[in-house]
Each structure stands twice: as C-alpha cells, then as structure tokens.
C-alpha cells in the first residue's frame, strides 16, 4: 500500500486564512518542498509558493515547518514520524501575499540604507588571512529566516528601529573589511538599533548556511560600539592620544 504524507498548509493572504489538510504520496528522499509541489500539481494548482534552485542556495522557499523557520527544499520528510501531520506556514514576520509567499521587500529597503563598501585611496592590497573573517558572511543566501525568527522584528515589530540580523551581518562584513574606511557606527547605534539585539541567538540557530551570526557578526559589532560610545577609558585614551583603531 502506498504510504502517504499528511500536510496542513496555510491558504490565504494578508487578511487571514485557513490551514488546509492535504495528503500526498510519500517518495523516498522527499523534502517538504517536494510535498508542496505535489499538492500544487495534483490538488491545488493555485497554491502560492516561491522557490527556485531546490538546492538550498537561492533562499526563496523559506517557510515555517512545524513552527520552525526552514528552507522547505532542505527539510527532509523522513525526519518526521510517518504518521505525523506536518504544518507549513509562511514566515510570520512578513506580510503574506498569497499562501506561502511573503512580501520581503522591507529587507531590500533596509539594505539600501547601509553605507556601501568604501575602499581606501591608493594601493589596495590585503591578504587572505585578513579576508577569512568576512568571507563567512558572504555565504548568506538572503533567505531571511534570521529576520523572520528574530524576536525584535517578529514579536516586537520594531522594523523602523532595527535592521535585523541579516543586515547586521552585512554591516559587519563591511566594517571588518581590510580596505573599507567608512564608519557605520553612528548609523548602527542611532538608526539601525544594534543595541536592540539581546543576543539570544535564534538567528544563528536557524541559519541554513550555518553563519555564526551572533558570535561573529553582532557581538563584534556591539564591542565596536562599546569602544566608540560606552567605554570611558577608550574615550579618554582617544582624547589624549587621538588614536584610532584598525
């Protein structure tokens, strides 16, 4: 007898919706996105789902599977009990356009506000060992799962005051770049809310690229802000010797 996978998929838009039950044939090696595609092909041709590469690299198919932010294309069905019903919902932090498709355009607007790469004048040489640290940040596929799970955006809805982990990662990659000379600290403290992050590491937990967001990007940024704004001895030292770091 053919085994089946039981699903509950959100159907609706920004005004609300319903969880609709589906069941599709279980195929060895199946991922959640396969099951959604099966529903779309056989039972609900109007089911909205955004996807592209199906290889965990385009960051399109972000959703909440059994309440956990996941890339649907990387979430294997065989990790769930065979008789379990799997719920699939759109990301909670962003407005729903249709079914599993969210409007993530807020992120694109935030991105524009970050001071871009500003290389120093003259000879531009740096070494691999200096670049290693920021290369980790380049792995980001902009799936926005970190933005979705961050409670500052998800629960407290502080989108006007906080840019979220994805863009703190981007700011860190620029701030730590050996050739970059721009100073983003004032922007980070006053407009982009680096202090609003309370380092509870949900962003790191959900990152499909396993970027150590909190330890390697956000905490180093916070420490840099301490240097600049909150450390009295550093402030006195700077006043006395007019010394700048890095």
């Amino acid at each position: 007898m053919e085994q089946e996978v039981k699903l509950q998929i959100f159907r609706g838009d920004k005004d609300g919706g319903k969880m609709v039950d589906y069941s599709v044939p279980r195929i060895p090696g199946m991922v959640v996105l396969d099951a959604v595609h099966s529903v779309q092909k056989e039972q609900a041709a109007d089911l909205g789902v955004r996807w592209n590469c199906k290889a965990g690299k385009c960051g399109s198919c972000s959703a909440e599977v059994n309440g956990k932010p996941k890339l649907m294309c990387m979430e294997r069905m065989d990790k769930y009990p065979e008789d379990a019903t799997i719920s699939i919902r759109p990301m909670k932090t962003f407005p729903v356009i249709k079914d599993l498709v969210c409007d993530v355009s807020w992120n694109f607007e935030v991105n524009k506000k970050i001071i871009p790469f500003t290389p120093k004048e003259g000879e531009r040489i740096f070494y691999q060992y200096e670049a290693d640290r920021v290369q980790e940040f380049r792995k980001c596929i902009e799936c926005y799962l970190c933005q979705n799970v961050c409670h500052v955006l998800r629960e407290h809805e502080l989108k006007n005051e906080f840019i979220g982990p994805r863009f703190l990662v981007r700011a860190a990659s620029l701030e730590m770049h050996p050739l970059d000379v721009a100073d983003r600290s004032e922007q980070l403290v006053k407009e982009q809310g680096v202090g609003l992050c309370n380092i509870t590491k949900c962003c790191t937990e959900v990152c499909p690229e396993e970027i150590t967001i909190t330890d390697n990007a956000i905490i180093p940024l916070k420490e840099r802000m301490v240097d600049k704004y909150y450390d009295p001895l550093t402030w006195i030292w700077r006043k006395l010797f007019k010394k700048k770091t890095g």
Binding site: K68, E155, D215
Partner: protein, 255 residues
C-alpha cells in the same frame, strides 16, 4: 480544515506551532542557574568552613572566598566572600553567554525561538541595560582572579613537609583551568586582543594580534561549555573544601 488568523503578532505567551520540547532548554537553564545562585548565596552567608589551614595538611581555600579578605571592623554577618564575589559575579552577569541564558530562561524574552512572548515593551540592550557594556572591565578583574586562584593552587601543593598533591589540590587545579578557559574564551577579550582590527597588515604587531584573535576564537566556540563547567567546578570545589574543613571527609594525599 482549521481557521487561522495570521495577524502580525500573537499576543499570548507560549503561542507556537513548534511541536518539539522547546520549553525544556530554558527550564533546564533556569533550574541550573537557580541552583547555583541558591547554593552560592547560602555559602556566602554561612561564613564558615571555607578554608583548610592546619599543621598537618596543605592550605585549601574555597574559590568563593578567594582572595581571603578579613576586615575585623566589619559587622560579623559580612563574610569575606561578599567582599570579592561581586567581581566574578559581575563578569558572569554581563557575559554574552549568560545574557543569552537569562534573557531566555528568566526574562522569557524570548523563551525559545519562534515562540510568542506575549505583548510587552521591549528595549533590548538599550536604556538601563547599556550597563551590560561594562563587561570588559569585569574581564580585567576576572583575569586578576585567575592569577589569584593560580596562587591558591600553589598553596594547595605546599604541605608542611614539602611538595605534595591531594584530591583537594586537584580540585582547585581543575577549577583554575576551567575558569581560565572560560575567561580566555570571552567575547570581549576576543575583541580586545585583535577582533577590533580590520587590517592586520596595516598595524604594528598585526600578525601577532591576528594569532591571538584566532586563539581566543578557537576557545570562544565553546564559551557556553566553559561557562557551565567552570560554574559547576566552583560549586564543587567549595563543597569539597566545606566537607574537608568541617571534618566530614579527609583530603586524600596522592603523593
């Protein structure tokens, strides 16, 4: 088919679609930290049996009471531990790992990822919690404490008849090593030794500072592990010395 309102935020604490035991990690951390706080508070006020100091054994001092500062003019209820514990306590209280731990387990902000907190005001680490930025100053003090506890270890191997090693001295050694690993894996230290530099080839001692940063980074990956093991070891060392000092057990000399 079930109805769902997909409004922008659930307002009830604990609302989630998660089906795993999401409440277990914060509960475990709550119980673990609470147990230590209760034990340490009791021992601080107990104000006795914190040192083994007699003519037939080595000198063992509880890490909760080290360095031993006795001020006779102070009221008797003020124990020597109260005069020193604020420093390592402040280091842990402002530590990036413990901040995560107590924000999740005590403040439930959030208790777990993708679990609703209930509506409330939120300011993160701004306003009053800007005080967390004092962490690096507690780090400087913590480094001094590593030196002091290392001296305690050397005292613990100096028996009246010469060098010797007991279970007690091994316990103190374990405490010093774990506290050292916890302190040297600190995020602030990682920043101060080299993390703050962008262009290592542009500054004096750049390579050395990059190596130092890499070293602390390696330790930092297990900062949580060092935080817990060192906390446990401090409590265990104190308990061991309490039992020896009170005559409940004998500190076995290995050689």
């Amino acid at each position: 088919m079930s109805d769902l309102t997909i409004s922008s935020g659930s307002t009830r604490f604990g609302d989630t679609d998660r089906r795993d035991l999401w409440w277990l990690p914060p509960l475990s951390i709550f119980l673990g930290l609470s147990a230590f706080i209760v034990y340490a508070t009791f021992r601080v006020f107990y104000n006795a049996d914190y040192v083994v100091d007699n003519a037939t054994s080595a000198y063992l001092l509880s890490p909760l009471y080290s360095p031993l500062i006795i001020v006779p003019s102070l009221p008797s209820w003020i124990s020597p531990a109260m005069l020193v514990l604020w420093a390592p306590g402040g280091f842990r209280l402002t530590c990036y790992y413990y901040r995560k731990a107590y924000y999740r387990s005590f403040a439930l902000d959030p208790a777990a990822c993708a679990v609703s907190e209930g509506k409330r005001n939120y300011a993160g680490e701004t306003r009053l919690l800007l005080i967390q930025n004092i962490h690096r100053y507690f780090l400087y003090l913590a480094l001094v404490f590593i030196v002091i506890l290392s001296i305690d270890f050397f005292h613990s191997v100096m028996w009246p008849d010469g060098f010797g090693m007991s279970v007690g001295s091994l316990v103190i050694l374990g405490t010093v090593v774990l506290l050292g690993l916890y302190t040297f894996s600190c995020h602030s230290l990682r920043h101060l030794v080299g993390g703050k530099i962008d262009c290592y080839s542009c500054v004096a001692f750049g390579k050395a500072r990059h190596s130092a940063w890499k070293g602390v980074t390696k330790l930092n990956k297990n900062h949580m592990y060092w935080a817990w093991t060192s906390l446990f070891m401090v409590a265990f060392a104190d308990l061991y010395i309490w039992l020896v000092s009170s005559g409940t057990i004998i500190d076995f000399r290995i050689f």
